[in-house]
Every structure is written in structure tokens, then in C-alpha cells.
Subunit: 204 residues, 2 copies
DNA sequence: ACATAATTACGATACATTATAGTTTCGAAA
DNA sequence: TTTCGAAACTATAATGTATCGTAATTATGT
């Protein structure tokens, strides 16, 4: 439930539901910056330019707000466009990269990395959000690799799942740990030096 | 610096340096259980069976204690004494991991998974800690790979630096994002399916 | 050699400071 | 009659400091 429900009163001033979104967006911003424990309700209400009572009128606790903010964030996952078909796996994978930069999902990665203690109480929700963010990209990569496998470009024994996992792992590692963007050149190097040789020469 | 230094006074009662270790071990235990924000200095001193002043006499802040605890933790999970020399790169790399440290490395990954707000609030110290954990391991991995390269087991064009980076990236990704353990078996799979084939068949 | 003073570490605990979740109150607006 | 922003307020919790009586160690005096 991304927007809080409330038996709408028939009389009195109407609730401004645009504030729901403003609050959720602010929560995500601050989660990305400071993590779950670093986020305070005062920071959220200040950045959303609403009173704190307005936040608590919609969500009765910080945990519930964060839970809904994560679901809200996952909803705007990248849209699947048409699959590239250039003839080689390398250029297929690179072509998939072109539309959206790798730093596009930077904020989402930061949010997930800063979830810390929130995981303890809401592990399922957090993992759902994580999947919503990475699955689409991994699915596309996996599809392209499977196609390459079918046409004999890579080995029948190739570990496609792990290759996809390495891609995501390297992007998150560079953005969160090394604090530099995993550029398109880095991505090409990863493909040329490691992943493509491994996929081509995998043995039983 | 895993043990705090202090200009040893010539008079007075001597410091009991066994308490240093007790405090660090307690810190790791609690970090694994509760994460950075869930760990309190009172919990540490209680579990270590020392007074809180004894903790603060050695570390002037929680962040510094956590940093040293992490470095201490990583020291005990590697065989830094002797470089393995088993004849093959695969068993060399595997031998580098301590044989009976499965539970220990699980605890280690739990610790890493609970560090979210440590990164957010103490970025510089947290990065020192991460470097203290992974740098020794990467150095050893690189050395073993270079040796394998010299004896012709892997290609002269092998991208050793990126291979080492992938290892660290996968460990941190699994612990901090996916929140599941990157086990010894996972590590073996990474080597067998991706890294070793890539290193052996790398081309210009 | 022995006693005593000086000095430091120790565990325990009280304290001070600060931070934050959550509540309530206010006047204004719809 | 209800929502709004703003802000005061309460309750709680944790970091870091200070105090206290005691134990360990060294220096000094006899």
C-alpha cells in the first residue's frame, strides 16, 4: 500500500493526497543519504515541506513509512524495451546499456545499502524491493545470454546466472564502496576480460 | 591498529592487554547480532565483563572501536602466515581461506551486513575498516595469481586486478545487498565457472 | 628488607548531553 | 468538521564523562 487509506470523512477539509507522494519521495531521498537509522521523521517532514503531524496522520510509525516508501520506489522500475539483436552477445549487452546510464539506479542502490537495521524487522519487504530493482535488468541480460548460447556463441555449460550476478555486484560495489561510477568503459572491460572469455570457454 | 597504543607509564598498575581482545571480540559478537546501531557501548562492556571506562580508556569513540574490531576480525580469517603453494591456482586460492572458519566467516558477513549506518555516519572510518578487511586478502590473491601467471597456468594477458576486484565485489554484494552468505561453495563456483576460465583464456 | 606513599588500571555506576520517536496544541484554511 | 504547517512537549535511549572504592605496580624512605 503505497498510499495510506483512511475512511474519508464526508465533512471538513479534504486531505491533499499530493502530500502523500511528497512525503514518500522525501523519505527515499533521505534513506539514500543517511540510511534507515540516519533518517528522522523531522528530516522527512522538513524536506517534504509538511508538518510532522501530517506525516503521522498518514503513517503511524517510521517503519510503516519506510516500508511504503520502498514499495513506492520499486514501482518505478525500469521499463523493458525491445531487446537488441546485433548479432554478437557483446554488442547486445552494450546496446542494452545505452538508453539508461548505470548511475540511473544509484539512488536505489544507496537506499538498499543503507537499510541496515530495517532488514531485521522487515526483511521480506526489503528483499522484494531489491528484486524489483535488479530483476528486470538481470532478466534482460540473462535473455541475451541464453540467445547467444542457443546460437552457439557461448558454451552450453556457461554459468549465465553467475555472470549476471557479477554484473550487478560490480555496479553496486563501485557505486557504494569505491564511490565511483562503473562506467561504460569499465563495463566493456568486464565483458572483454572476464565474462565473455568465461562464458565462451566454460567446461562441464 | 587493532590494539590501541598508549605511552606506557613507568609507574602504576599495568594495563591488562587481554582485555583489548575481550572488548574487540564482544564488539564483533554484538555487531553480528544487532548491527552498528543496535550495538551500544554498554552492551560491549557488559559482555566483555569490563567497565565502560575501560573501553573508553582504549578507544575514544564507538566508531573507532568498530573500525578496529573489523580489522581484528579479518585478521583471524586468513592464513597470512604462509602463502599456500599447492601447485594449482585453484587450490592455492581455496587454501587461503581458513579451513574451519565457516561459522566465523558467517559471523563476519553478518557484521558486514549490519554496517549500513556506519557507512552513512562515519564514511571515512568505515572505508578504513573496509580497506583493512579486504586489502590483505586482495594482495594475497594477486600474488597467487601472478605466480600462476609466471608458471604459465593462466594467460599472460589475464586481467588479474579485475579478477581480484570481482572477488571482493561479490562478497560485499552478497553480504550488504542480498543479505545472504557468500559461502565457500559459492566461492568455488565463482572460481570454477568464471574467474579461472577467464584467466586461462584471456586474449590480448 | 620492609613499609608506605604515589600512581595507574580496574569494575561499577551515576551523570550530563544530545538525539529522536511520537503526541499534543495552536491558529488558519478548506 | 477536518486538514494544514508549525512548534512545543514527553518519554526514552545512547554516547561519552566523571566519580568511587579497590587492586596492582613502582618509587621512595627507613
Amino acid at each position: 500500500m503505497t498510499s495510506p487509506e483512511k475512511a474519508t470523512a464526508t465533512v471538513g477539509r479534504k486531505r491533499n493526497h499530493k502530500l502523500d507522494e511528497a512525503i514518500l519521495e522525501s523519505a527515499i531521498d533521505i534513506l539514500a543519504e543517511a540510511g534507515f537509522d540516519g533518517m528522522t521523521m523531522d528530516m522527512v517532514s522538513t524536506q517534504a515541506k509538511v508538518g510532522k503531524a501530517t506525516v503521522y496522520r498518514r503513517w503511524s510509525s517510521k517503519a510503516e513509512l519506510v516500508r511504503d516508501a520502498m514499495v513506492h520506489m520499486s514501482r518505478n522500475s525500469l521499463n523493458i524495451e525491445h531487446l537488441p539483436d546485433t548479432g554478437t552477445l557483446r554488442s547486445d549487452l552494450m546496446a542494452l546499456l545505452k538508453p539508461h546510464s548505470l548511475e540511473y539506479s544509484e539512488r536505489k542502490l544507496k537506499v538498499l545499502a543503507g537499510l541496515g537495521s530495517f532488514y531485521a524487522g522487515y526483511q521480506e519487504i526489503a528483499e522484494d524491493a531489491m528484486q524489483g530493482i535488479f530483476e528486470p535488468w538481470s532478466v534482460l541480460n540473462r535473455t541475451l545470454m541464453l540467445r547467444a548460447q542457443e546460437r552457439g556463441e557461448i558454451s552450453p555449460q556457461a554459468d549465465i546466472d553467475m555472470a549476471c550476478e557479477i554484473i550487478v555486484a560490480m555496479v553496486t560495489y563501485h557505486s557504494r564502496i569505491e564511490h565511483r561510477v562503473f562506467s561504460k568503459e569499465d563495463y566493456a572491460t568486464l565483458l572483454d576480460h572476464i565474462l565473455l572469455p568465461a562464458l565462451k570457454h566454460a567446461e562441464g
